[in-house]
């Protein structure tokens, strides 16, 4: 998009977007302190953080299609930020499972990972996000080189797929798939948009060449 921001406006947008991304965490913290999380606060916190993790995965995945289809290149800067917030909420989600749901009962947690595949799948998704978060430090990006970095960071697609699988498996016990469908279709659409864009681009290049 063509409009230009002054440096002051740009940093204001930056601060504002951080505040927006942190708002769900702040709200949950407020509810936790004021006893506003309902009858089962640990469960409410765990689920809400999981919801926000998958929402931020969707937002991070939406950046590239927005850039490609709307030529909204200014969005590129936000991809890293949104991805890191996805990692932030996924980490809080995982931590609240370990601390509040399991009470740091490590043998119990290990038994869970073995016996309940949906927890293993969720943990794998989080581990991928962890690797991506670490390798998004600018120094490491340079060290790795653009090609290798890009190759590694495509594993966000795997993390997104695992997150949906985790959600689906968790909800399967209750036959309650509405939200799984919602996030699953958003992620599928965002991945499909990339494929369609590539195919069209390849075709255009072909036309130009011949």
């Amino acid at each position: 998009m063509a409009f230009k921001l002054t440096p002051g406006q740009r940093s204001a947008v930056r601060v504002l977007s951080h505040l927006l991304c942190l708002a769900p965490a702040a709200w949950l913290l407020y509810l936790a302190i004021t006893d506003g999380l309902g009858a089962n606060p640990a469960e409410a916190l765990l689920r809400s953080l999981g919801d926000w993790a998958i929402r931020f995965i969707c937002l991070a995945l939406a950046v590239t299609p927005l850039r490609q289809w709307l030529h909204w290149n200014a969005m590129a800067k936000y991809r890293r930020m949104l991805g890191l917030y996805a990692f932030f909420y996924a980490s809080l989600h995982w931590l609240s499972y370990v601390v509040f749901d399991m009470g740091l009962d490590w043998p119990g947690i290990i038994a869970d990972l073995v016996n309940r595949p949906f927890i293993l799948v969720g943990t794998l998704a989080w581990l991928i996000l962890l690797v991506l978060a670490i390798t998004s430090i600018p120094k490491l990006i340079r060290l790795m080189g653009g090609k290798r970095w890009q190759w590694l960071h495509r594993s966000i697609y795997a993390a997104a797929a695992l997150a949906v699988l985790h959600f689906w498996w968790m909800r399967a016990g209750k036959n309650n798939f509405d939200e799984v469908w919602l996030y699953g279709s958003i992620i599928a659409a965002l991945l499909l948009a990339r494929v369609v864009f590539r195919v069209r681009k390849a075709r255009l290049q072909h036309v130009v060449k011949s």
Binding site: A32, D35, L37, G38, A39, N40, P41, A42, E43, L45, F100, M102, G103, D105, G108, A111, D112, N115, R116, P117, F118, M170, A172, G173, K174, N175, N176, D178
Partner: protein
């Protein structure tokens, strides 16, 4: 409601009761929505008057009871039961009602009757949850006849000194304290004595997760929730420690003999 203290062994837990606020706002009642906060918001539409319960099947005296008749059928007892949900949480609830056996005795089960099927209300006009295909409506449950005749198995009409809130299964529900909560069917309309093991709502939805018996058992794991421990609702907030779950939810002395010689891992 006028009540007498129950004389049934094991019927009065001395544990700290769950606050009424929690017990009446954190409910699984899928007919009124999938979220545990939904029933308290949506169940106001439930019509509990007039209400009848049909008791039929392999009985000598099939009969349709009006809810007022049922309320007076036996002395209303207060019983304080632990409630263990398959999701890994538990409550302690003071129910009002009487043993299911009091009603079953009235209709005289025949010798061929082996199981009791419970059918609950499925009214699309008042129950928004029926639009979802999550379960095969109406919600049905079942017990073996000897389980149903155990004095701890209870028909409940009230809790915390008052009539049941609609979200808790008004006007009459089952409470089977040694089984996971979903066995305790809400808003019952028909009780049927049958020879074959009846299908039950959750068993039909996910056979490998929810068995017909569904006795509380810390040694039989569930694919979704650890059954070894539980969180007591209303205690300790976010940092509440999980307690160890007891076999038959701590009612082994009263109900253990029902399962003598049975492989509880197979008959989960």
């Amino acid at each position: 409601m006028q009540t007498v203290r129950s004389a049934v062994p094991g019927a009065i837990s001395t544990e700290k009761q769950t606050p009424f606020q929690d017990a009446s706002s954190y409910n699984n009642y899928y007919e009124f929505g999938l979220d545990k906060g939904d029933p308290v918001k949506n169940a106001h539409t439930l019509q509990t008057q007039p209400w009848t319960v049909r008791v039929e099947g392999l009985v000598n005296k099939p009969q349709t009871f009006d809810i007022d008749q049922l309320l007076k059928l036996s002395a209303q007892e207060e019983r304080i039961y632990r409630l263990r949900c398959v999701e890994g949480w538990s409550m302690v609830i003071p129910w009002i009602g009487y043993s299911l056996s009091k009603l079953l005795d009235k209709v005289e089960p025949q010798g061929s009757a082996k199981y009791v099927e419970f059918v609950t209300l499925a009214d699309p006009k008042t129950m928004p949850g029926l639009r979802s295909g999550v379960l095969d409506w109406p919600y049905t449950e079942g017990l073996r006849l000897d389980e149903a005749m155990n004095p701890l198995a209870m028909l409940a009409f009230g809790m915390y000194g008052h009539a049941l809130p609609k979200q808790n299964g008004a006007p009459v529900r089952l409470v089977v304290p040694w089984k996971y909560g979903f066995k305790s069917a809400k808003s019952i309309t028909t009780i049927r004595l049958v020879e074959q093991q009846p299908g039950t709502a959750w068993n039909k939805a996910a056979r490998n997760e929810y068995g017909f018996y569904s006795n509380v058992n810390p040694d039989v794991p569930h694919p979704r929730w650890s059954q070894a421990t539980e969180r007591r609702i209303g205690e300790g907030g976010l940092f509440a420690r999980r307690n160890k779950t007891l076999l038959f939810n701590g009612y082994e002395e009263q109900v253990g003999q029902l399962y003598a010689g049975m492989d509880l891992r197979k008959n989960y």
